[in-house]
Amino acid sequence: MRAAAPELGTAALAALIERGDHWRSGAVPGAGDPHHEWSHFVVFAPGVDLLINFSRFAASSERPCSQLTLLARTADGRWRGDVERHPESDVRMPGGRVEADVGPSQLRFRNGVYELRAVLRDREIEARLRLRPQSRPALTSSVSLRPGFAMWFAVPRLEAEGEVRIGSRRIAFRGAPAYHDRDWGRFHWGGDHAWEWAVALPADLACPWSLVVQQISDRARHHFLSKGMLVWRNGLYWRTLHHRALEIAASGLRPAAGALRVPRIMDLVSPGRAADVPERIDVVAHEGDDRVEGEIRVQDLVQICVPNDRDLGTTVISEARAQACFEGRVRGERLQLEGPAILELNRAEA
């Protein structure tokens, strides 16, 4: 994990983001495995949470496919939205640039601020957002998958403002916590891997802490390929607690019956209702004088279904809205974080 120098100002921070947060497309080494890349945003606003994802994938022998995922969760715990693929004639994801156009949806990075317009074809949901980075970005080293690898560039905390329209209802907000990352690599959906990943942000942006927990394993979850808790404080990368320092225990089983599954056609393709989503995840990280304990409690979920690359099965990515509560001490500072979280689980079905 590398972090930016702490003394960076807004312009330097923007330059740093532009250097790392851009489309790789054909520039990712390796030829045999499909190239996957996405730019992902999570916003926790009063009355509505948003998951927005601009993505592209290409097998070496096929033309690329690009899609937009737009999911909105209202305060009653109901998820709406869809995953929409767009013809390449309506897509622009220029290599080396942050920006993207996928149909009528747009991502821009201007004057150090992410500007998003995300809209579904039927116009049922539309979001117009400005997200200002509140932390320095971090770039992970290559994460091994089976087969392949992935890289990950994260801006763990942003301040979001904007407006979301769901049907005829409009929700405007300012000062909402948000998260952004970009992932790219060569791997197979449906490969011999599974993951649990969570981001937890404080409900009150005055709280200095942001936190990501992840573990990647083989599909059977017997062997861990990577495991870590990443901690940011006051916008600075603060600490990673690695593999052996970390215990992650799942308990309970969250039923998926009635959960939204997107794209909608995947309810026909993969009608199974076994979600393999826990009710709760307990985390203990302990290394030297640093110790963090906490829990992530699942409230509700949406499932994104991705066709496997090499077989006719499906990978189900469950995005669970959760509530996180962590406390401890890291590098001499007392950590307390209570707020919204997204827990993401990747499970391949044969």
Binding site: P263, I265, L268, P307, L312
Partner: protein, 139 residues
């Protein structure tokens, strides 16, 4: 006069599947090998036949499996507004055949759908099927 939209859609979609999702097409062909399907959609009857790994959409004739449905029911299924079980229970989708044949039909349907979501050209084809249906209703 019975509509041809579904017959055109089916024929084109199978050609796309063969070209863009050969693995799914081969699985579909295996499931329906020597098991013709009689299809009735919006009153238009046709027969789907697979022989030696290749398909043909033919004129109507009796077959071991009969599927009867409508364009609105198909689109409600595709858009997740109704589940397959609910469509069968409410007879928006009518399926008739011996249990062994229906099991093979189920495997065929899953292979067809798995191929459809992997074929880049399927979405515009489906959009065209929606549009032609709307145009026919408006006429």
């Amino acid at each position: 006069m019975p509509r041809r939209e579904f017959r055109d859609f089916l024929a084109r979609s199978l050609e796309l599947l063969a070209a863009e999702s050969p693995q799914a097409y081969a699985q579909l062909a295996r499931a329906l090998d020597a098991l013709p399907l009689a299809l009735e959609v919006d009153g238009a009857a046709m027969r789907l036949v697979f022989e030696q790994g290749h398909h043909a959409v033919c004129d109507a004739a009796p077959a071991p499996v009969l599927l009867r449905t409508s364009r609105p029911a198909i689109l409600d299924l595709v858009d997740g507004r109704v589940t397959l079980i609910a469509a069968l229970r409410t007879e928006r989708l009518w399926l008739q055949g011996k249990p062994k044949s229906l099991v093979r039909f189920d495997a065929a349907l899953r292979a067809y759908l798995a191929g459809a979501v992997r074929s880049p050209s399927f979405q515009p084809l489906l959009a065209d099927y929606r549009r032609r249906g709307r145009d026919a209703n408006a006429a």
